[in-house]
Amino acid sequence: MIRTPLRPLARILAARAKGENPDAIERENIRLRHEELRDRARARAEGRLFVLALFFLCAFGTVGIRMGVLAATDPAEPRSAGSGAQILANRADITDRNGQLLATNLVTWSLYAQPRQMIDPEGSARALASIFPDLDRDRLIRQFTGGRTFVWIKRRISPEQRQAVHDIGDPGLLFGPREMRLYPNGALAAHVLGGAAFGREGVHSAEVIGTAGVEKTFDERLRDPANQGRPLVLSLDLSVQAAVEQVLEAGMALMNAKGAAAVVMDARTGEVVAMASLPDFDPNDRPAPPTSGDASDNPLFNRAVQGVYELGSTYKIFTVAQALDLGLVTPETRIDTRSPMTHGRHRIRDFRNYGPELSVTDVIVKSSNVGTARIALMIGAERQKAFLARLGLLAPTAIEMAEAPGVQPLFPQKNWPEISVMTISYGHGTSASPLHLAAAYATLVNGGYKVTPTILHRDIPLRGERVISEQTSAIVRSMLRETVARGTATLADVPGYSVGGKTGTADKPLRDGRGYHSDKVITTFAGMFPSDNPAYVIVVSLDEPVETSGPEPRRTAGWTAVPVAAEIIRRIAPILGVRPAIATAGEDGVTLARN
């Protein structure tokens, strides 16, 4: 590298000799050097800018040529495949436990046109417009005569419409098969089934994919060709489901409630025989998800699975069952029930004063908060939490529905102070769904085996781990039976079916999470029948019910959820094949004929 000295000494020395200031010469030198640098840089940059310009020219040219090539080729029109038949019926049906159809497919047709094949475009357009009044005739004529090669006309047409189009007789009008999902029972079991929608759409087929409920959970199973269209058999019983929904709807109107949910479960296997949530919707025309307002008030919301509510006094039986199982109390142990009970800053009071003390059985029968809280204090936080967890009340249910895994019960996450022990003992300060409650009751009354809820029909009953002993389970059953016979749930006493159960009335929490409404409640009845050997567990929950037949409005579960549950049991027990135990009407009621 040849260095150019910044101070060509000769000139500077000459200037000095003349007595001039050398700084001016130095500035001039720097300026010249700078100019030279700039010129070199410009010369180099000129070449590189030229390269850039060439690059852009090529890029634009390539895009232009490619556009030209595309414009010159014919559009890839959807050609008639040899046979469209093999894509039909590739989503399996869904049936109830008796093989009754819950969801199936219907072959409909889509309509499209290839204007170049058409003989009389204008006439066909006019004929089409008369078959489909929503089509615009002039628009069709423009589309058919504009030199286009392919025009979509209708996504889905009925067989009658197809025949009418067929009768036009124009070879340019073509049909593509479109399979659609059909729910023949309408809104029945809508929340369980969920719904389906078109996925990717082509000319000759459209994918049908599940969007909610079991349709979504079992989407792959339903679409898997390896199953050869074998139907998915649910545990639901269509007749029971229909009865439950009918009674629940009437009960909801009678009790002026804004929503309701019901679950009927096989107490041994955990199979859900009926599951209803009101208000409901028609899965054939599933509404769009709500964008405003409270999602839990939307018809799409499945209250039985997704609705996490404080379930109130129905929890008391868990506390008592645990205390019995641990041997802390017997049914006859006397419990101090002086109300109100003070604990630190908190006061716990009963609905009305039940006197100084009650037996454990009567704590359940009369539903004493104070008594339950005292029993819970004997148990303590650790054991209470562990027991609730074993009953499945602290984790999402394992039911095979798309919505279930996200439904986390609410409970004190970090610590579990004594005040929580007391409130949780009677079902406040923790929330779970009606389905959780049904599974937990089934576990308590079926002899003490853990029940996992399922929506699928099981051939072989599964027996879970033991949660409480056989004896405790028997005591729990008799306590629940006594509650119905002489306690808070007397309206549930359906003759012959020996119903047992427990009520629960919980104030609704305010929207902002601080405190509770004074006049809005969620009432729940959790029961089983027949109580000597329970076959089914039932949970009925009403949202904001008011019973107004009396002199003042009544909101407790005993007056709202219980009569609805009783009517449901009256209707479904015969369908389920539960035999009523008819009391013999005296010795002379029947005369046996014997020869």
Binding site: D39, L52, L57, G68, L70, A71, G202
Partner: protein
């Protein structure tokens, strides 16, 4: 004596502002930009109607917005182009600081409009995407730093600008907005190239990129499948690309006719990323070639003018701006004709979008300010060549 010449009497500078602007501005480029905006408005009349109907608005709601924003953008462009390069530089560096801060705050204050990427500030009546405004400011800042590095005893400006580029690209990548991040790095690369990147380094980088690409193709199945899908001759007719290809083919040379296009009803991004498909379907190859011609005019004329420019800052800034502008157009149209893998990029001035229009106006305004004819001291060149040492 010297005092009398320097700074004595204040002489009013030659001719007035507007005539000088008109004389020195690149009128071809400016005309091309106006034409692009006109084409954009014409296409918006077709392409944005389905969107307006989907959103339950008046049919021409988006056209009116495009007109309002476009008018503002063109005004900004003309005003910016009247500034002197020094003023542009100062304003742009200040603007870069402001935009950079807003970009940093984006994860905390921005909205994602439910699209999964936090790129916007929402002001109710309109939303602003800071990364659009970042591009011109970033280019000018980097040009300034790189030009400073070319001075005698200048700072290591290239290193500084590289650090800035990496930070900005990183911020964009976490949004995530890989398209804009790549654009920022591309702009830096082009400026570095023009500022005199060593040839050896360029060859090395090119080789490394090819090597990494081949390695990724061999090692990563996902990457390989994407490239294979892109190279495959058959396109699935049910994808966005399929619809776009079909629209271009339907359009042919002269289009299916005004308002007859179908693709705008089936493509969700017909008014932004696939506007060229709408143009091709309704007006045919003729309009597409016209649009390409307009973009080529802007890019090639600006580059030609920058070749004569002696001031390194102006040359670099102008190059960066014009390359950002041109590459956006190439990528947008390249995706529609399947020359490039799918990547969301708007077509400057043609696609709908408030932020992108205004930012485009600023960008082209700066470009026009930089490409104005100014004395390049050619006489001095001639005389300087023969000077003694």
């Amino acid at each position: 004596m010297t005092e009398m010449v320097h700074g004595g009497v204040r002489v009013l500078g030659g001719d007035p502002v507007i005539p000088r602007w008109w004389r020195t501005i690149d009128r071809w480029t400016m005309t091309a930009v106006f034409a692009l905006f006109g084409v954009g408005l014409l296409l918006a009349l077709a392409a944005s109607v389905p969107l307006a109907e989907r959103n339950g608005l008046a049919s021409f709601y988006y056209v009116e917005r495009q007109l309002a924003f476009g008018g503002a953008a063109l005004a900004v462009m003309v005003l910016t182009s009247m500034l002197s390069p020094d003023v542009v530089r100062r304003l742009a560096v200040l603007a870069f600081a402001a935009v950079f801060v807003s970009l940093v705050l984006l994860p905390f204050l921005g909205t994602d409009f439910g699209k999964g990427a936090t790129r916007w500030y929402s002001f109710g009546f309109a939303s602003v995407q800071p990364s659009e405004f970042l591009k011109p400011a970033f280019v000018v800042l980097c040009a300034w730093l790189m030009a400073a590095a070319q001075e005698i005893n200048g700072p290591p400006g290239r290193l500084f600008s590289f650090v800035v580029a990496v930070i900005v690209a990183g911020l964009l990548a976490i949004q995530p907005d890989f398209g804009q991040a790549a654009l920022i790095l591309f702009a830096w690369g082009v400026m570095y190239f023009v500022a005199g990147a060593p040839m050896l380094l360029l060859i090395g980088l090119g080789g490394a990129a090819a090597g990494v690409g081949a390695l990724a193709y061999g090692a990563s199945e996902h990457f390989a499948r994407r490239i294979d899908g892109f190279l495959a001759p058959e396109v699935d007719p049910r994808t966005q690309l399929g619809f776009a290809t079909n629209a271009i083919q339907e359009g042919g040379f002269f289009g299916v006719g005004v308002g007859e296009g179908q693709v705008k009803w089936s493509l969700p991004d017909a008014h932004t990323d696939f506007i060229i498909a709408v143009a091709a379907e309704e007006y045919g190859l003729v309009l597409v070639l016209f649009i390409i011609g307009l973009f080529a005019t802007v890019v090639l004329r600006s580059l030609a003018r920058l070749m004569r420019e002696r001031d390194p800052f102006i040359r670099l800034a102008g190059t960066g701006l014009v390359c950002v502008f041109g590459v956006q157009a190439v990528i947008n149209m390249g995706v529609a004709v399947r020359l490039l893998p799918a990547k969301g990029m708007t077509l400057p001035f043609v696609s709908y979008g408030g932020s992108s229009l205004i930012a485009g106006g600023i960008l082209v305004g700066m470009l026009l300010a930089f490409t104005r004819t100014r004395p390049q001291g050619r006489i001095a060149d001639v005389f300087g060549r023969g000077r003694g040492r």
